[in-house]
């Protein structure tokens, strides 16, 4: 699976203003709403559901990366977005580091494989330090999109 298969281009955010976990999640879910990927009536429910998943254990998986996610009944196919925080946010990461790169994934209940494939793609690409570094330095949604496209074209992972 490639980034283009699940990242909503219109929902990419380069400069998150949120300074805490819930704020980041709200900002990213709002971006999906603005991109018409989720229904307005489901906004609060999706935010709560993502936060509930965080309570089971932080999705801050180290290296300044977090993959907040949840399943939600209102979703028909996997949707996701990417956001970058220049300052970094305390996300209770597994390695204690601040998180700069966020990959939000909202899945339907019956498609666990798609979710795994998206996680696989994110984790595979992020093992490349150059990709991570460039993404953290991205100043605009266009920068991020270009990096995701380059990653999709295997320009970082051999």
């Amino acid at each position: 699976m490639k980034f283009a298969d699940f990242v909503s281009r219109e929902a990419i955010r380069a400069e998150l203003t949120a300074e805490d976990k819930e704020g980041v999640i709200r900002e990213m879910v709002q971006a999906l709403l603005d991109a018409s990927k989720i229904a307005e009536s489901e906004y609060e429910s999706i935010v709560k559901s993502v936060m509930k998943r965080e309570e089971l254990g932080s999705t801050g998986i180290g290296r300044g990366v977090a993959v907040p996610h949840t399943k939600h009944a209102s979703i028909e196919r996997l949707v996701g977005t990417v956001a970058v925080s220049g300052e970094g946010v305390d996300f209770a990461s597994l390695d204690g580091e601040k998180v700069h790169l966020f990959f939000l994934l909202i899945s339907p209940h019956d498609r666990p494989t798609d979710h795994l494939r998206a996680l696989e793609n994110v984790s595979r690409q992020l093992r490349d330090e150059t990709f991570c570094k460039f993404l953290k330095q991205a100043k605009s949604a266009e920068d991020i999109l270009q990096l995701l496209d380059e990653a999709d074209n295997n320009q970082f992972v051999s």
Binding site: L56, G57, P112
Partner: protein, 96 residues
């Protein structure tokens, strides 16, 4: 002294080896000093890295070889196999 132990386990969780079980695996693996690797087909990854585990995209039914190498290899293997075979105790946690 180097002690190497291996065991094949099967992912039984219908959701596959997703973020939470991968986290539990890494937390257990890092309690041991031995080197731990997971092998899926031709892929071999560090069993102490959550990013590495997630690259396996191990869906339900996937066979994984756990390889431990070091003084506490046997104990590590036992703990990790128990975790995977016990479905990461996820079902129990969900009931709570």
């Amino acid at each position: 002294m180097s002690m190497r132990a291996t065991k094949i386990v099967v992912i039984t969780n219908p959701q596959g080896l997703h973020a939470r079980p991968a986290d539990l695996f890494v937390k257990t693996a890092t309690r041991f000093t031995c080197k731990i690797e997971l092998v899926k087909g031709r892929e071999r990854v560090d069993g102490k890295s959550i990013l590495a585990l997630l690259t396996l995209a191990a869906v339900a039914g996937t066979e994984l070889l756990i390889e431990a190498d070091g003084p506490d290899a046997e104990q590590a293997l036992e703990a990790l196999a128990k975790l995977v075979e016990g479905d990461f105790a996820e079902n129990e946690r969900m009931r709570e």
